[in-house]
């Protein structure tokens, strides 16, 4: 069509487009790390300021946009800026694409006008939680986004409102979690990802995310202390306050928001050595309710560790020291006598 290259549409305007393919590191979503990567350097961020528009690719002023932003340009040119601005709210104009996932009926890529509520996204678009379970939390903005609660379901989904709640729009990831989710384990899961993706340049991110992960691992393994909660909070605040780039500054978001909104779960893990959602294997305890147990022996047969004993037709018991917490007994019990604590 002659829309690119020399003398576009017969004019004296020429424009070359060159596409570079990166190797796919998470940190290269940070604009200065992306610049380094394009320059053939290691994908590590640079200190800002100077911002890319001042000194970017090969020291030249550089504008960096996401694909979604560039894709919007087409619609804006075709239909006009006013049309685009008719969607959205406040300073967050237009539409936004999210990747909706998690324990939800309809998952997939969605495009919404900015400013609708989280409730509309999860229940109207997402069809609500799977298997009729109760909604517990939604994490917004990718691995370094914050985890929000039921109270936030009516928060308007826009840049300002989400930031005020401790979450971000970020990469547009939305993960809905149901009542069977352990929030400490969720924080551990995201920290595991982030610490692996840290570029290793600055100390708070390189060592700080690793140490936060280790603290969370101790907690989910039942080895945490009560002081660990405060230590984790302090460390998370420091990493967020001092890391060089957005990756490190936002890395503690899942920790900070779960500490804020689900602190009782942390306390249960470290003080009571209990995982309220029964997710953390090390903190699960299987028991048999004597009143319900008919003594059929199915569980003892199913137990791979030989941890269950009892006379026929008499209530059985689980030897807690031998139990490997596999859950086989619970699965085979027809009388719902095996319960988790």
């Amino acid at each position: 069509m002659g829309l690119l290259g020399q003398n576009i549409l017969g004019s004296d305007f020429s424009f070359e487009l060159e596409i570079r393919i990166g190797a796919g590191a998470f940190v290269c979503g940070e604009e200065t790390a992306l610049i380094n990567s394009i320059e053939g350097k290691r994908g590590e961020p640079r200190q800002k300021p100077p911002f890319p528009f001042q000194s970017g690719l090969w020291g030249c002023p550089t504008i960096i946009n996401n694909v979604e932003t560039l894709a919007n340009i087409c619609a804006i040119i075709n239909r006009g800026a006013e049309w685009f601005s008719s969607f959205g709210v406040g300073r967050s104009k237009g539409t936004k694409v999210f990747a909706l996932a998690g324990d939800i009926v309809n998952s997939g890529i969605i495009e919404i006008p900015m400013g609708i509520s989280m409730r509309e996204i999860i229940y109207d678009i997402g069809g609500g939680m799977k298997d009729g379970k109760r909604f517990k939390s939604v994490q917004s903005g990718g691995p370094s986004g914050g985890c929000l609660t039921e109270e936030h379901l009516d928060v308007s989904v826009d840049y300002e409102s989400l930031a005020a709640a401790g979450a971000i729009i970020g990469s547009g990831g939305l993960i809905a979690m149901d009542e069977n989710t352990c929030m400490v384990d969720t924080a551990r899961y995201f920290m595991e990802f982030i610490q692996d993706e840290s570029c290793g340049h600055c100390v708070p991110c390189r060592i700080g995310t690793k140490r936060m992960l280790e603290m969370l691992q101790r907690m989910t393994n039942g080895e945490g202390d009560v002081e660990d909660i405060d230590n984790l909070q302090t460390l998370a605040n420091t990493v967020s306050d001092t890391a060089m780039c957005a990756l490190g500054q936002t890395a503690p978001n899942p920790v900070l928001t779960t500490l804020k909104y689900f602190r009782d779960e942390y306390v249960a893990h470290v003080r009571d050595k209990r995982c309220p959602a029964h997710v953390c294997a090390a903190l699960k305890e299987y028991s048999i309710e004597a009143e319900k147990c008919k003594g059929c022996g199915m569980c003892a047969k199913a137990c791979p560790a030989g941890a269950i004993s009892g006379e026929k037709a008499q209530p059985h018991v689980i030897d807690k020291t031998a139990c490997i917490k596999c859950g086989s007994c619970k699965n085979v019990c027809r009388f719902d006598a095996v319960y988790l604590t």
Binding site: A25, R42, E44, Q47, P49, Q195, D196, E197, S198, C199, G200, H201, C202, V203, P204, C205, R206, I207, G208, T209, K210, R211, E214, N231, T234, L235, T238, S240, D241, T242, A243, M244, Q249
Partner: protein, 613 residues
């Protein structure tokens, strides 16, 4: 000038100052770790963070520029706690072996703990993967590395070599050559500039002291030591003396006290180098001007880091290198032949130690080329830092030592030899001799100095015109030799790219591998931030040594004249070639690959470029 407020004080600072620099002007010092003035600023440690009003996050004061009207707080509770936690994080991934670390009492991480008032640590956890890589010159111990990247900057930006960089990601990040290969296998020049900037014990010279102690304690060994010119201009710094104070006499006394049987001076080797290299230059010029074959420009070969870099980066330009060995290997060869003969000792029973400002020389002495009659010319190399450690270990009160002398007959030198330790010195020393040999008159210029090549500029050039020459050099009448002097491998590359392209206008080029020459070598005392002009001070020290001597031209050294009369015959003669000259090995970027796959092609290409030999 801009005006800002730091900790409630109004501060004026020049435009472009960082917050850290502006604070310093106001007498406020901000603790820092990775920042290294004159080398790099990359904000990786985050120790220097400060609070800036209007900014959400803490900012690295070593990078962020001060701006008009900025309000900065450098030591609020928020900042103080952040620094403590960052330090705690660093220590949580660092070995607690301070008491037996080579950087004990000189470690910047250790000192920072004192500055921050750290009395306990709270954070513990797994340690990053560890790798210890011992090359002939440099030992890398990644468990002590704090990833400040100073070494990376020294290797890439200062030296232009780029042998090491961050590998892997996150907590597994290590500074290493590509694919975690050992240093010895890559195109590292062994210059040791990384060891000078390393704040901890992660990068050090490979230990040479053990073998020297063993030799000193072995009654069957005649242990001979020699000291390079630049050592005397910096050794005092290791004993808290001011930079620029020469300690030649104290050093000679200390070496005797350490138990060396003979204390010789590499300066003697430098005078000898001038005789050989000056003669080689004249031979090449003679050939070139009389229609013969000659490879010009000729390039100096005193610096083994430079030689190794040239072998890797410019394998097709090796004939440009002077065939002279470096001064200390020349002297080693003379000690194990001429001197051994004189005192009736079998060279096999001699142990020659060189004290050098250099790490590359540790590698150089192991090159197969550096031996004669089955004996290595030099058996061990100590850096300036290692000599200081030996002196301290022996309980020698260095600062209060009486001045001693070097021993005869290989301890006397001219002023020309002293300036070998600084960029421009070898060239000036060579020209003092060559010019006088050709014209019969001393080198013109201020007090024998060729002023355009004195100083620390990256590339210095001058023209020397030979006029009213002696009859035997009539072909040089009116000839102008263009000369160039450079130091630091990145700067050398600029001149070498011209040589490679065939556009170099020069006749003679001096290259020293380390920036500013041996005074700033990879084995010298580590830089002190409070004396930013330490290089200038060390330079002055060497020029003062030169000017303080009666004899200042190598060819006037009576002991050099005696050596030629009694033993060598003539410069570049048969025996000289055997003992004092060497050959080079083309390596390419990947040494082993080059040796295996490119040798055949290499010979053909070289024959095409330089003619059949």
């Amino acid at each position: 000038m801009i005006e800002l407020t730091i900790n409630g004080k109004k501060v004026s600072a020049p435009e472009g100052s960082t917050i850290m620099e502006a604070a310093k002007l106001a007498g406020i010092s901000i603790p820092h770790l990775c920042h290294c003035p004159g080398i790099h600023t990359n904000g990786s440690c985050r120790i220097c963070v400060v609070e800036i009003e209007g900014m959400k996050k803490l900012m690295a004061s070593c990078i962020v520029k001060a701006q008009d009207g900025m309000v900065v707080h450098t030591s609020t509770e928020r900042v103080r706690m952040a620094r403590k936690i960052i330090y705690d994080l660093l220590i949580s991934n660092h070995p607690r072996d301070c008491t037996f670390c080579s950087r004990n009492q000189s470690c910047e991480l250790q000192q920072l703990g004192g500055t921050l008032g750290i009395l306990e640590t709270h954070i513990h956890g797994e340690q990053s993967p560890v790798r210890v890589d011992i090359s002939p010159s440099i030992t890398r111990d990644t468990k002590k590395c704090i990833l400040c990247r100073r070494c990376v900057t020294a290797c890439h930006e200062v030296q232009g070599v780029g042998a090491i960089f961050g590998q892997n990601r996150g907590f597994n990040t290590v500074i290493a050559p590509a694919m975690a290969m050992p240093l010895e296998k890559v195109d590292c020049a062994m210059c040791g500039q990384c060891t000078v900037v390393c704040p901890t014990g992660a990068l050090t010279e490979t230990d040479g002291m053990d073998r020297v102690w063993d030799a000193l304690n072995d009654p069957t060994k005649r242990v001979v030591v020699q000291v390079a010119p630049a050592v005397r201009a910096a050794l005092g710094e290791e004993f808290h003396m001011e930079p620029g104070v020469t300690v030649t006499g104290k050093m000679a006394t200390a070496l005797h006290d350490l138990g060396f049987d003979d204390v010789f001076d590499t300066n003697y080797g430098a005078d000898l180098t001038i005789m050989e290299e000056g003669t080689e230059l004249l031979q090449r010029l003679t050939a070139a001007l009389n229609g013969g074959k000659a490879v010009l420009p000729m390039i100096t070969s005193c610096s083994p880091g430079w030689i190794k870099h040239c072998e890797h980066a410019y394998p097709y330009q090796l004939p440009h290198l002077s065939s002279c060995k470096s001064p200390h290997t020349m002297l080693g060869a003379v000690i194990k032949s001429y001197y051994a003969n004189k005192i009736g000792v079998d060279p096999k029973d001699m142990f020659v130690v060189s004290v050098m400002p250099c790490t590359a020389k540790k590698y150089e002495i192991q090159r197969p080329e550096m031996q004669n009659g089955g004996n290595y010319n030099v058996d061990a190399v100590l850096t300036t830092r290692e000599l200081a450690r030996m002196i301290r270990t022996m309980g020698i009160d260095f600062v209060n030592l009486e001045d001693g002398e070097f021993d005869a007959p290989l301890g006397f030198s001219t002023g020309a030899a002293d300036i070998f330790g600084v960029t421009g010195g070898v060239m000036e020393a060579a020209l003092r001799t060559v010019y006088e040999l050709v014209t019969g008159r001393p080198l013109p210029g201020h007090n024998l100095h060729l002023m355009p090549i004195v100083g620390l500029d990256k590339i210095k050039t001058a023209d020397i015109t030979f006029e009213n020459v002696k009859p035997e050099y009539s072909f040089l009448e009116g000839v102008t030799a263009k000369i160039a002097v450079t130091s630091g491998l990145k700067n050398a590359d600029v001149l070498m790219d011209e040589v490679k392209a065939g556009t170099s206008p020069y006749t003679f080029i001096e290259v020293m591998g380390c920036p500013s020459g041996c005074i700033n070598g990879g084995g010298q005392p580590r830089i002190k931030n409070n004396v930013p002009n330490y290089k200038e001070l060390r330079l002055e020290a060497l020029y003062n040594e030169d000017e303080g001597k009666q004899l200042r031209k190598s060819h006037e050294n009576p002991d050099i004249i005696a050596l030629y009369n009694e033993f060598l015959g003539e410069p570049c003669g048969h025996l000289s070639h055997e003992l004092l000259h060497t050959t080079y090995t083309p390596r390419g970027h990947f040494n082993e690959y080059f040796q295996e796959h490119m040798q055949k092609e290499y010979a053909t290409v070289m024959a095409g470029m330089y003619g059949e030999e």
